[in-house]
């Protein structure tokens, strides 16, 4: 019983952290039709920034500063690496994303000198508590609640504010909305700002749970979150969140069985099955090809 509780708890918390990353993927894809491969690495950079800043300043200063710097990084990446390629074929933009991801990893490697870095323990959320007899950290409980709050806020933003309406318009039809006077570039920047903000929050929760940061830390969560986004129907925020929770929980449960070796392979198998059976994911909208 304790085993199952503990497994499901860590699954939920992992799923929540994937969800925060997955929203960034799904929003960017919804608007730019771009798999932002660098997103996972932005997440890793957020972790490293926190490692470095927490040694020189108190936690309550470094957390907001880390979030601001990460958001800035997301904004700069969009302006520098994706904006010049707006009219280029989709493959070029995707390759540019791979290039940015490569650059961020190498920069992180250079900065850390190849040494794994230990994440600062943040008071209160690093504390251990017991739920139904299973020991866990406060962050495990905080994560799903925080995710739900953030998603509700985000949905409100998208449905009821001007920028939200603009975002929806752009994701429906890029060119028409441009003609209707939507400032494409600021909408896209806003998307990246929101996406990286959530990734920064996600990194805070994730690295509190798994407190070692290496340059490759972002690769696997990034890929998993992307799978979650596709699973839920890329472009759909509730879809990404539900997909992330499903993948997080399945992954943890599989790791507890004899097939632990295939926990990653399972995620990809799930993805391929979904793509083949229902290519638009659970909540995805049906698209038709235009000739």
């Amino acid at each position: 019983m304790e085993f199952l509780t503990s497994q499901i708890l860590s699954g939920i918390s992992l799923g929540g952290q994937y969800a925060l990353i997955a929203i960034g993927y799904t929003m960017v894809y919804g608007i730019l039709r771009l798999i932002n491969f660098a997103h996972g690495d932005v997440f890793m950079v957020a972790g490293l920034l926190m490692v470095y800043m927490s040694t020189v300043m108190p936690i309550y200063v470094s957390i907001p500063l880390m979030i601001v710097l990460t958001v800035l990084l997301g904004f700069v990446i969009e302006r520098a690496a994706y904006k010049p390629l707006r009219s280029a074929p989709r493959m070029s933009v995707m390759i540019s994303a791979i290039g940015v991801s490569y650059l961020l990893q190498n920069l992180a490697l250079y900065a850390t000198g190849g040494q794994p870095k230990t994440y600062a323990s943040i008071p209160w959320i690093s504390n251990t508590i017991h739920i139904f007899g299973a020991p866990t950290r406060v962050v495990t409980v905080v994560t799903p609640i925080l995710v739900i709050i953030l998603v509700v806020l985000l949905t409100l933003l998208i449905n009821h504010t001007k920028i939200g309406i603009a975002m929806r318009a752009v994701s429906k039809d890029f060119e028409t909305s441009q003609l209707m006077g939507v400032k494409i570039n600021s909408v896209i920047s806003a998307t990246f700002v929101i996406g990286t903000f959530l990734a920064a929050v996600g990194s805070l929760l994730y690295f509190t749970n798994y407190p070692t940061v290496v340059p490759m830390s972002g690769a696997l969560p990034g890929l998993k979150a992307f799978v979650a986004a596709v699973f839920g129907g890329i472009g759909s925020i509730p879809g990404a969140v539900i997909g992330a929770f499903i993948i997080g929980i399945c992954e943890t449960l599989i790791k507890g069985t004899d097939f632990a070796v295939f926990s990653d392979a399972f995620t990809f198998a799930l993805l391929i099955i979904i793509l083949v059976v229902k290519p638009t994911g659970i909540f995805g909208e049906k698209t038709t090809d235009k000739v």
Partner: protein
């Protein structure tokens, strides 16, 4: 026609560059005789942290004894580095770089996979290579140019299985290693062998590369009622496992191999209730003079301190790197020449008394070692404490 000429010129340029790079590396620079020792170590990738600590030992040794006498002449010893990136696809090129710089002998690498991948390059160049802490049997098996000064995985796995049984009376062990990592999987196989032979049961799991969530595995070990967790993994994973086991209030001891002998892992165990034991080549306090001097060296030198992870705790790999340098010097002296072939011929019969123990080679090229040090982490001071010396024989 211009294009043709341009292309031909470009080709000529490329090849002449090659010719230049091949031509440099003569053994005398501004009148001083120089002999080069290649340091084939990872400075990036999974094993980057370990590779740097090993290199640190060699650098320290080089700062202590920077010259060697060959046939009555004094040669300056120069260390030449190549980063193999902990990656077998990059290892041959890094090895070729060392060979291209005309080194006389190669030291390294931390990590057996890259050593095996580079073996062919060293063999073709007629160079001897001296493994420092690569413990996989395949490094030296079936060749006459790769040697090593450390013990082997079958030995280490057996030692740790015996230790777990003797110390904790363990009946059930949980083994956790990285999927596809020959070091982890090899040790687990040998541990399993010895543990099961002695009447215990073993549950073995593998986690995928770049994994950070170990809570499921630890939960599983807990619910299965395992008496000990054996995780011979690289440093980044080890810190995760230790801190997550502490979070989940794991009540079993964690036993690790030589890779866990690292101050980052110690830092993760600090302030927790985790009982962490590691087997290793050298235990701090084994040689007081060496400890004192190298600590002074690390504290004076900012780069060295960064490479050592920010403090002056001495890793066993550093001591091994130190010994490897002197073994190489002994081989050069015994050869009486700077010729790689002569050094290769002289190396097998070298006998050296190092800080990590006596070093002599058997016919395969492995060091004759029959004991390993077991250290335990002190959760308050974050220092290693000597536990016992363990042999493979039961």
């Amino acid at each position: 026609m211009k294009r043709v000429i341009a292309l031909v010129l470009a080709l000529v340029l490329v090849f002449s560059l090659a010719a230049c790079s091949a031509g440099t590396g003569s053994s005398s620079a501004n009148g001083e005789k120089v002999i080069r020792i290649g340091v084939f170590e990872p400075a990036s990738g999974d094993s980057g942290a370990g590779g740097k600590k090993e290199t640190l030992g060699m650098q320290y040794a080089n700062s202590q004894v920077p010259t060697v006498e060959i046939g009555g002449e004094t040669y300056k010893v120069e260390l030449v580095y190549a980063d193999n990136g902990s990656d077998q696809a990059k290892a041959p090129a890094a090895a070729a770089e060392l060979v291209g710089k005309n080194v006389a002998i190669v030291l390294g690498s931390y990590g057996s996979g890259v050593s095996i991948a580079a073996s062919e390059t060293f063999k073709n160049a007629g160079l001897a290579a001296l493994g420092v802490t690569c413990t996989n049997p395949n490094v030296t098996a079936g060749n006459d140019h790769y040697f090593r000064i450390c013990f082997l995985d079958p030995f280490q796995g057996t030692v740790l299985a015996n230790f777990s049984m003797d110390k904790f009376g363990a009946k059930k062990a949980y083994c956790l290693g990285e999927l596809g990592n020959e070091y982890d999987q090899g040790l687990i196989a040998f541990f399993k062998d010895a543990f099961e032979k002695a009447g215990g049961t073993v549950i073995a799991d593998s986690f995928p590369t770049n994994n950070s969530d170990f809570s499921s595995y630890i939960n599983k070990a807990k619910s299965e009622g395992c008496d000990v967790l054996f995780c011979p993994v690289s440093i980044a994973y080890a810190t995760q496992i230790v801190s997550q086991a502490a979070k989940l209030e794991a009540n079993f001891p964690i036993v690790g191999s030589d890779t866990l002998d690292d101050n980052m892992v110690l830092a993760a165990a600090k302030g927790t209730d985790i009982k962490l034991y590691v087997s290793t080549f050298y235990s701090e306090g084994g040689n007081a003079d060496f400890d004192k001097n190298i600590k002074a060296y690390i504290n004076e030198n900012a780069d060295a301190k960064t490479a050592n992870g920010g403090n002056d705790t001495i890793s066993a790999v550093t001591a091994m790197g130190y010994d490897a340098y002197f073994v190489a010097l002994e081989a050069i002296k015994a050869a009486g020449s700077a010729d790689p072939a002569a050094i290769k011929a002289a190396l097998p019969s070298v006998v050296y008394k190092g800080v990590s123990g006596d070093i002599a080679f058997d016919e395969i090229g492995d060091a004759k070692r029959d004991t390993a040090f077991i250290k335990v982490a002190n959760n308050e001071t974050a220092l290693w404490e000597f536990e016992t010396q363990q042999t493979a024989a039961k």
